[in-house]
Symmetry: C2
Subunit: 367 residues, 2 copies
C-alpha cells in the first residue's frame, strides 16, 4: 500500500525481493509507527532471523518472507551438483522453518516452493523455479487480500463507522491486508468511512500498526481504548466490526484471534451490529473439532505491566506502568464462537461461519 | 488500610488530619504505585490545590479532604468577630468548592460541616464544631465502607476468583473502599480469594492503584489487560465481578462508572457470572430519570495515545505509544443498565438495581 515519505507517496509491499542483490526486502515493523525503514537481508540466515526477531510479523507476511528466503538460499548455491544442492536447500528449509516454531505459514509457503522446484532438472532451473514460485506466492497473497476487499466492500455503506481490533492490515500480509481490505476497497470506490481502531493492549498493535496504516492510506480514523467500544456501540456510533483471524475452524466456524476479539463479538451481538471476520483460506484449520482445544498462548507478563513508546527525547523506551510488586495474566488469543459471527469474508466470497464445512471444497479444504 | 514500609506494617487512611499542625494529611496518589508518601497541606488553599491537582481523587476521599479543608480554614481564623469569621469561611468554602468543578462530593461534605458549625455561638465554638464534624464525616465514610464490606462478604465463597475494574478501593475513600471492601472483609474471615484487576486503560488505575492496594493488603491478585476478561470468563476463571460507581440512578438502577464497566457487565451477563456494584449512599442520584442523559466526559486524547510509567532510570515518564499522526476518542465513563446488574451493595444492604426507588427512604432519598 501507499507510504508517504518526505511528501512523496510511494507504493510498498510488506515483503518484496531484490533479485539483483539476492536480498529479501522487509518493512522493519519494530520501528513502526515512529520510523519507516526498509531492510534488505544479505542471506537466508538473516531472513530467518528477521522472522524470529519479528522484523516481520503476520500470517501472510511471514509466509512470503520464508518463501523468498528459501529462493534466496537456493539462489546463493554455486555449482551444478544436484545432490549438494538438495542438501543445501534442506538446510535452508530447516533454518527458515524453525525461525518461529509455532507458526505454520512459513512451512506451508515453503512447501509450495519445494513442489515447484521439484519440476526442475538442473540446479539453475530449480533456482529459477524457486524464485518464480516465491514471487507467485507473494502475488497470490496480495491477490487474495484484494479479493477479500472486493467481497467485503459490499458490506460498507457510505458514511459507515467501522471498528477493528489489532492489526490484520497490509503489514500482516504482502499487501492490502484482510480486515482492512474492505476499507481500502471502499476508499477506492469513494465511499467515506470512519474507522475506530482498538488500541489492542497489551501489545497495542491497533494504536501502532493499524493506526499507522490507516493514516498512510488517508483513511479517517481514531484510536480508542479497548474499554470504549461498548460505550460507542451503545450510543450508536459503530455500524460494523471487521477483524482478522489467526486460525478459523472449518468444522465449527470458531475464530481464534488476538485477545479481546471475543469481547468485541459479544458487544456487537448485544447491540445487533454486524461482526465480520476477514481471512485468507490458508488460515482455515480443517482438522480441529472444538475451539476449546486450541491452546491459548500465555505470553510474558511484562507486556501487561508496562508499555513501549517514544519518550520525550524521541527515544523508544519501555515504561513500567503497573504496581511493581504485582504480576499479570497475559493470554494472547481468544476463541469466538460461530454464533457471534455474522460472516466470514474470504477471497472466494462471504460465508456464514456454520457453512464453512458445507463449502469446504470451494474453500481449499485439505484433509 | 495497611501499608508496609521498610518491613513495618502501619495503618493509614487516605485522608487524615493533624490538629496540632492544622494540616490535612493526604497520600500523594500521583506517586503511587511507585512511591508512598504522605503530604501535609499548610493551609486550605494548599488543600484545594491538592484536590485540583489530583494528589487525592475518588468520591469519598475528596469529600473528606474538602471537609477537613473547611475545618482547617476555619481553624486558621484569628479573632472573635463572627461576621469576619463568616466571610472568611465563605471564602474557604468557595475555594474548596471550585477545586474540582464537576465533583459534587466536596460540596456535599462541606454542607455537613457548615450545618454543624451553625450550632456554635462563638468563633471558637464554631471552629471546634467544624473539626468535630470533619472527623465525623471521615469516620462515617470509613464506617460506610466497612458496612459495604459486611454485606458484600456474604457473596464471597472460599476460593472465589473476583474481577474488578478501575479503582473503587480504599484510596478512593477514607478507608476500606467500596468494590474492595468485600474482598478485605473476606480476608478478615480467612476466606481465600484471587482478584483479577483490569488494567483499566487509558489511565490504568487498576494496574496502578488497585494492584498496589491489593499487594499492600496481601490479597492474591493479578493484573489483566482489559481485553482478557472475556476469555477468562469463557474458560470459567471468574466467579464474581464487583465494581464501584461514580453515579447510580436511584430511579432506574443505571450505573455510571469508569469506561469499560458496561463491557464487563455485558460479558458477565453472557457468562451468567454475578455482577455487583458497591456504592456509598452519597453517590445515588435521585433526580435524573434516564442514564442516557448523563453527560459523558470526553477526556484528553493523550491518555489513549500513550502511557505513564517508570523508565529504566527509575524516573516517571510519559511515552507516546500510538502512531504520531493519529488521534483518539476518549470517553471517560459509561452507563450500565439495571438489567445487567445482579445487585447494588450499599452500607444498608444489597438491593436489586430496580428496587432502589422502592427502598429509597432506607437509602437516604433526598428530593
Amino acid at each position: 500500500m501507499n507510504v508517504t515519505l518526505r511528501g512523496r507517496t510511494e507504493h510498498f509491499r510488506t515483503v518484496a525481493f531484490d533479485a539483483r542483490k539476492n536480498s529479501v526486502l522487509l518493512i522493519e515493523q519494530r520501528l513502526l509507527p515512529h520510523e519507516f525503514k526498509i531492510v534488505g537481508t544479505k542471506n537466508f540466515r538473516e531472513t530467518a532471523l528477521a522472522i524470529t526477531d519479528m522484523v516481520v510479523r503476520g500470517a501472510g507476511a511471514i509466509g512470503a518472507t520464508a518463501a523468498y528466503g528459501l529462493a534466496q538460499g537456493a539462489l546463493a548455491f554455486r555449482g551444478n551438483d544436484l545432490k549438494k544442492f538438495s542438501a543445501h536447500v534442506e538446510a535452508v528449509y530447516k533454518t527458515l522453518g524453525t525461525a518461529r516454531p509455532t507458526a505454520v505459514d512459513p512451512l506451508n509457503a515453503m512447501h509450495q516452493i519445494l513442489f515447484a522446484m521439484a519440476k526442475g532438472e538442473s540446479v539453475a532451473e530449480k533456482q529459477s523455479l524457486a524464485l518464480a514460485a516465491a514471487e507467485e506466492f507473494a502475488n497470490e497473497d496480495a491477490r487474495h487480500c484484494e479479493e477479500i476487499g472486493q467481497h467485503g466492500v459490499k458490506l460498507i455503506r457510505d458514511g459507515m463507522k467501522i471498528l477493528t481490533h489489532c492489526n490484520a492490515g497490509w503489514l500482516a500480509f504482502v499487501d492490502t491486508g484482510t480486515a482492512t481490505a474492505p476499507m481500502y476497497a471502499a476508499q477506492a470506490q469513494a465511499k467515506e468511512s470512519h474507522v475506530f481502531s482498538d488500541e489492542t493492549r497489551p501489545r497495542s498493535q491497533g494504536a501502532t500498526l493499524t493506526a499507522w496504516e490507516l493514516a498512510q492510506q488517508k483513511i479517517s480514523h481514531q484510536i480508542i481504548a479497548d474499554n470504549a467500544a461498548g460505550h460507542l456501540m451503545q450510543r450508536g456510533e459503530i455500524d460494523l466490526v471487521i477483524v482478522g483471524s489467526d486460525r478459523t475452524l472449518g468444522r465449527t466456524g470458531e475464530v481464534t484471534n488476538k485477545i479481546g476479539t471475543y469481547t468485541k463479538a459479544i458487544l456487537a451481538a448485544r447491540h445487533k451490529i454486524p461482526f465480520y471476520v476477514a481471512i485468507p483460506l490458508s488460515t482455515i484449520d480443517w482438522k480441529l473439532k472444538r475451539g476449546f482445544d486450541i491452546p491459548i498462548e500465555e505470553r510474558h507478563e511484562h507486556e501487561v505491566l508496562g508499555a513501549w513508546g517514544i519518550n520525550s527525547r524521541g527515544m523508544r523506551e519501555y515504561v513500567r506502568v503497573a504496581n511493581p510488586t504485582s504480576g499479570a495474566r497475559n493470554p494472547g488469543f481468544d476463541v469466538t464462537p460461530a454464533e457471534l459471527i455474522t460472516g466470514i469474508i474470504t477471497p472466494v466470497g462471504i460465508f456464514k461461519p456454520k457453512n464453512l464445512w458445507k463449502h469446504r471444497h470451494k474453500l481449499g479444504y485439505t484433509k
